[in-house]
């Protein structure tokens, strides 16, 4: 049984504060500062979860948040790394991927029995013949895979947020190299951000070597400096273009602009491949040191330590000091390769197997013994085999620099065959790597390299001078003289399951099988075997996989290459990425009035608009019979000034502008270069060199971009385009009583002769400066009033007050749609789509093909020559009172049960309260559309519905009312 050790220097737990939490339905106690993993390990829990494919028991492996073996569910949060998450009182922790419980998982024996048939990619080779088998098999396959759960459909947001940071130098990793870099950069006057994923600064100074030797002074210096900001428990998850870093701490995402980056993120200890290397109790040496030194937890009682470097001997010494019996040491090196005092001391009491390795671990749900075998020259095993009982099997055979961030920053790596590690090539100017991440392991070298990197990066960010090249050369030479840390081999031959990828349960044999099947490049191998595609994203397996792939193809590691390191480096919650919901909402100056009046609002792009206040039919009648008013502040509004405004208008619009007189208004439509209608609106010439242009509400943004694009590309010389959309409120007053009402509020001459249809005026209305446009989308006498936004509500309320005697009603978008449909006016984007040209869309009267070059002209000339096949045309549906839904198709009925053929579609359709008839706009083949009264069939509810083409407006076709 593992147990908690007496208090030790350097431990990060507070024994004064006990926390109670639950794991797998049982209560456990933790000290404040414990991780879920350390608290459970301290009470002897070995199995944390079950594996992805075979449901094998899994326990602590790396204890550094990098492997997938301790993923647990915490409340509603899936896939929590138990070795990183600190215990909180009352936490509910559950094991993952258990069927149904951690201890009794019935799938585990089933998977064990089936495993000979479940080699790599087995699911591509079964369950598809006959095809219905897959319908049964897929749900089973789905149920067996996956890890954590999203069990509750809807949970309230937990308050994620974001913060922006910047620093001249950002140092990732606060081990000795990182702290040294930080101090040296800060010493040059640089502002430094120091980030570390651990709870405390120090990195491996806290878990290896003589922790008291250097750490206190480094900590003190970092604390004392004024220009260093420290972020612990902060994980950097990605490097993006222009040194834009993402980092996450709990529920907060940091977005960091770095002048330069020092990567001092250390190294990941490399697993070794042997039979049952996933058994709980098989751990990396550094994991045991973390448990011992940070949390004072004894990881086991009887340990076998397998090593290929001096780190393993330190692990063994640490274990003995903590009262763990080291029952055997295996070292892949020759005796002569290591002759430290520690080795001598240990060798005296512990059986040591030089030039040996571990071939297998044995046990059921935890390790009970290890088999140690000798290595021959090329790494294969031979007899004799030594079986050694143990409850802990520690592996320290090499390191993989933790350099994902460097990959993303564009650093290229090559494989150093002698040291069996990757080394950086082609470093960008403002990126440096130091310490174990750069393959430097001796503390003095790490500190020196960190200091140089810090100074270089400060200089790259414009602070102080860069160090001389000779200093770098010296550091590189010292590093090169360090003893190799990593074993050149990763596995020895043998039977049984040797796991290469813990996330996905991919074995060494799986890899060889995949290569033999033809998936022989590292990328194909990854996609087929799913190596490196699990939660650890290759941190445990990538290097070993590349080695084995190289071996299988008889190629070098460099030739084999590696898969790309993609963000995020550590999985990051969608909540943290999302932050608070910052979706903007646009409202008009009259918005609050609409709400007070109980309007039903609708989403229109970013805007909220009143769809209706009451019965839309009543609103329609008010406009037709009396007067109504609608808030149209959402319209795009632009002021154009300059002598050459007509030039740009002529280019953008399909109609003419040059001769428009001052004080006149004109409707215009615009097309893209393919001749497709994209927007319309009215534009007034309000002065010799001043124009006021309006666009649709939805098109305001894109028209602005469109105009700017063409103006900046040479057509806008001498024109100023000013977006006044937000500056002006706009209301449309419409109905036979509009003039009488408006006259009560203004001194302007409103008579039909003084202010005729399609003219513009300026003047005070209700004491407010207004621009008045006399236009008629609704088909009635109407005035569109534009005033400064701040007066919008005042103007609105005064119009309604003055209109009371006329029976005024405010009307919404729905009533407006009916009103315009009665007039046969189209809405761009509703009645037109990505193929509609203005000639087909009944706008040919506006197309002036004979004018100078304009956007869409070339396409429209083609269209005119060829003729249009489909046209937008009005229709009525006699004898029904329920309008067919918009989007229904118009069909030619097939004979003898043949499916009807689509020949058109309904783009707008409403019941007209004015005419007591269903009316609409639709697209029809030209030959049908050309004949007024032609009959056609709308396909509704699997039946034809007869409708009739109607040319011209159904209401006031001569337009007498809007001119009255």
């Amino acid at each position: 049984m593992a147990e908690r050790l007496p208090p030790r220097t350097g431990e990060v737990i507070d024994r004064e504060e006990e926390l109670r939490f639950q794991f797998d339905g049982e209560d456990y106690l933790a000290f404040s500062g414990d991780t879920i993993a350390s608290a459970l390990a301290a009470t002897g829990v070995r199995v944390f979860s079950r594996s992805f494919k075979y449901h094998r028991p899994r326990g602590l492996l790396c204890c550094a948040g990098h492997c997938p073996n301790c993923l647990v569910q915490v409340g509603e949060e899936p896939n929590v790394r138990a070795c990183r998450r600190r215990v909180e009182a009352g936490m509910r922790v559950e094991p993952q991927n258990v069927t149904p419980t951690l201890k009794r998982d019935w799938l585990a024996p089933v998977m064990r029995a089936l495993s000979p048939f479940m080699s790599v990619g087995f699911y591509y080779k079964t369950l598809y013949r006959p095809s219905w088998v897959w319908k049964l098999g897929e749900p089973l396959l789905r149920a067996a895979t996956g890890l954590g759960k999203v069990s509750v459909p809807k949970i309230p947001s937990e308050g994620f947020d974001k913060q922006y940071l910047r620093g001249d130098v950002v140092v990732v990793g606060a081990g000795p190299a990182g702290m040294s870099a930080t101090l040296s950069a800060a010493g040059q006057g640089a502002s430094v951000l120091l980030l570390d994923e651990n709870g405390q600064l120090g990195g491996h100074l806290r878990t290896t070597g003589d922790t008291q030797q250097r750490l206190p002074s480094l900590l003190e210096k970092v604390r004392a400096a004024g220009n260093i900001r420290v972020f612990t428990e902060t994980t950097v998850t990605g490097w993006f273009d222009h040194s834009w870093l993402a980092a996450v701490r709990g529920h907060r995402l940091y977005k960091i602009r770095a002048g330069a980056v020092v990567l001092a993120s250390g190294a990941l200890e490399r697993p070794l491949l042997f039979e049952n290397n996933d058994l709980p109790g098989v751990m990396l040496g550094s994991a045991a040191q973390r448990l011992l030194r940070l949390h004072s937890v004894k990881p086991g009682q009887r340990a076998v330590v397998m090593t290929a470097n001096d780190d393993g001997w330190e692990v063994a010494a640490d274990l003995r000091a903590a009262g763990v019996e080291v029952v055997a040491m295996a070292d892949e090196r020759e005796r002569a390769a290591s002759s430290s005092a520690r080795v001598d001391a240990l060798s005296a009491d512990v059986p040591v197997f030089w030039r040996h390795t571990v071939a297998a671990a044995h046990g059921g749900s935890a390790v009970q013994a290890a088999t140690i075998v000798p290595l021959d020259g090329d790494g294969d095993t031979q007899a004799p085999r030594h079986r050694q009982d143990c409850d802990l099997l520690l592996v320290s055979v090499g390191w993989t620099p933790n350099t994902g961030l460097a990959y993303q920053a564009g650093v290229r790596f090559g494989f150093d065959e002698k040291r069996a590690e990757l080394t950086a090539r082609d470093m960008p100017e403002n990126f440096a790597i130091a310490g174990r991440a750069a393959g430097t392991h001796l503390l003095e070298h790490e500190l020196a390299e960190g200091a140089l990197a810090g100074r270089s990066m400060a200089a790259a960010a414009g602070r102080g001078d860069a160090p001389a090249a000779a200093q770098w050369t010296q550091v590189q030479e010292e590093k090169a003289a360090e003893p190799a840390r990593s074993a050149p081999w990763v596995s020895v031959a043998g039977a049984g399951k040797r796991f290469l990828c813990y996330c996905e349960d991919v074995t060494e044999k799986d890899l060889y099988t995949a290569v033999a099947e033809g998936y022989d490049s590292i990328e194909l191998l990854k996609r087929y075997s799913t190596i490196s595609m699990g939660p650890c994203q290759g941190k445990m397996c990538s290097m070993n996989a590349v080695h084995l792939c190289a071996r299988a193809n008889a190629a070098s590691v460099d030739e084999t290459g590696s898969t790309k390191s993609r963000p995020p480096l550590q999985p990051i919650s969608l909540g943290a990425l999302a932050g608070q919901n910052m979706e903007p909402v646009r409202v008009t100056p009259v918005h609050d009035w609409h709400l007070e009046r109980g309007a039903k609002m609708m989403v229109a792009g970013l805007w909220l608009r009143p769809e209706r206040y009451g019965d839309p039919a009543g609103e329609v009648r008010a406009v037709r019979e009396r007067v109504g008013v609608i808030d149209v502040s959402t319209l795009g509004k632009y002021k154009l000034t300059g002598p050459s405004v007509p030039d740009i208008l002529e280019k953008i619009y399909i109609n003419r502008w040059r001769k428009l007189a001052v004080g006149r208004v004109r409707y215009g439509a615009m097309c893209n270069t393919e001749g497709i209608v994209m927007d319309d609106g009215v534009t007034a010439r309000v002065g010799e060199q001043e124009w006021y242009m309006t666009t649709t509400s939805g098109g305001a943004g894109s028209v602005n971009e469109w105009m700017q694009w063409w103006m900046q590309s040479g057509w806008g010389e001498g024109v100023q385009l000013l977006n006044r959309t937000d500056d002006f409120a706009a209301v449309n007053l419409a109905g036979p009583q509009a003039r009488a009402l408006l006259q009560k509020l203004t001194g302007l001459q409103l008579g039909n002769d003084q202010f005729p249809y399609m003219h513009a005026r300026s003047g005070a209305v209700a004491g407010v400066p207004c621009r008045l446009l006399r236009i008629g989308f609704t088909g009635e006498l109407s005035y569109e009033l534009h005033c400064p936004s701040s007066y919008g509500r005042h103007l609105w309320e005064r119009l309604l007050a003055a209109g009371e005697q006329f029976g005024i009603l405010p009307f919404g978008v729905e009533a407006q749609r009916v009103l315009r449909l009665e007039k046969g006016h189209l809405i761009i984007g509703q009645d037109t789509d990505a193929l509609s040209n203005p000639i087909a869309a009944e706008l040919s009267w506006a197309v002036k093909l004979d004018k100078e070059d304009f956007l869409g002209q070339r396409s429209l000339i083609r269209v005119t020559e060829r003729g249009v096949r489909q046209r937008l045309v009005g229709f009525t549906v006699p004898g029904v009172s329920v309008a067919p839904e918009e989007g229904l198709q118009i069909v030619a009925l097939g004979s003898n049960g043949k499916r009807p053929e689509i020949i058109g579609w309904v783009s707008s359709c409403r019941f007209s309260p004015t005419l007591n008839e269903v009316i609409g706009l639709c697209w029809l083949p030209s030959e049908i559309a050309e004949t007024d009264g032609a009959e056609f069939n709308i396909w509704r509810d699997e039946r034809p519905l007869a409708a009739r083409v109607h040319h011209g407006a159904v209401y006031d076709p001569e337009g007498a009312r809007l001119r009255s």
């Binding site: 949060e77 899936p78 080779k125 013949r129 996956g146 954590g148 939660p535 990051i572 969608l574 979706e583």
Partner: protein, 412 residues
Amino acid sequence: MSMKLVRQALRGERPPPRMWRAHELRERYDAVIIGGGAHGLCCAYYLAEEHGITDVAVLEKRYIGAGGSGRNTAIVRSNYLTPEGVRFYDASLKLYERMAGELDINVMLSQRGHLTLAHNDGSLRTMRRRAEVNRLQGVESRVIFPEEIERLCPHLDVSDHPRYPILGALYHPRGGIMRHDAVVWGYAHQADARGVHIHQLTEVTGIAVEGWRVTGVETNRGNIKTGTVLNATAGWCSTTAAMAGVKLPVTTSPLQACVSEPLKPFLDVVIVSGSLHVYVSQSDRGELVMGASVDPFPSYSSRGSLSFAESLAGHIVELMPALQHVRLMRQWAGLCDMTPDYSPIMGFTPVEGFYVDVGWGTYGFKASPISGKMLAECIATQRTPDLIAPFRLSRFSEFDLVGEKGAASVAN
């Protein structure tokens, strides 16, 4: 239990059969296909299987499936907007439905349904139009409302709290997802078995044209003589066509996607929201596969950006608040060749013997089997099959575009 797995279990140390082989590059082939993705390999398979043309080389500059075939989000559906689009993609879906048996590999077609959400009345109108077009073409598809949406996907917030509440959705029961790489491998395997040469790490550096006629292809491994070349590339389709002197109306932009860590199954349907520019599905492995719209600028970069992940996560969490604790595990980008009408270009070009199967935007994977089959027919019979006639290159000069923008512009 499949006999393959039994044989494999009993095989012991003997190596399994190869899915495809490596070959020396020959000096001449009857046909050369540029691009070893699902499209190119599928065309090679159909040339051999249906037209007896087996002297075919598929040239792939990296590894098979390295481009769009392996980077898309593996969604299949046929609920397009135009009749010609629906016909074409439905023919594709039907081939997918019998692909596993035909190619002898489980491509894991999972037709768990596809929902396109509408957040405003305009998209609801488009949904209805699509549903009607689909039904009239025999494709099951209908507009459904929040109550039914919530039944199909209880994790969606169908209340009126979100910034863009869900008003309705287009429901397409036959839509779903599959294992995209398996499609590539299946075609590669079957094409190889019929004598097609698959050349990986073989980059085309030039296309020889004499007097408006293709005569050969130049590669980093040597030159090939051939009278028939199919450009089945994505991302580099315009630069490849330019080698033959053919100009394509295509711009290339990245499309980003990402996956979450694996989770127990909880999401059956594919969820697409055009207004929020996101789509999400759960793979058979349990990962959420998520994507957004095409990046708003042309580029050849296949790197992921932070702003993509942020906006995608924001919209996903708004749609499904329970996903706030789910972790994004990996993000990447693929390249999309966009045409002006959001429809592909297939068939003949002004250069004799030079064919294109390009402009696949964000819909290439959905069309892999049918486009390969049609291109094979086009090459073998020297006439354009009716099904792909609307997608001919000459439509751009004839002003006869295909209006799929309304259904295809939102990535999936």
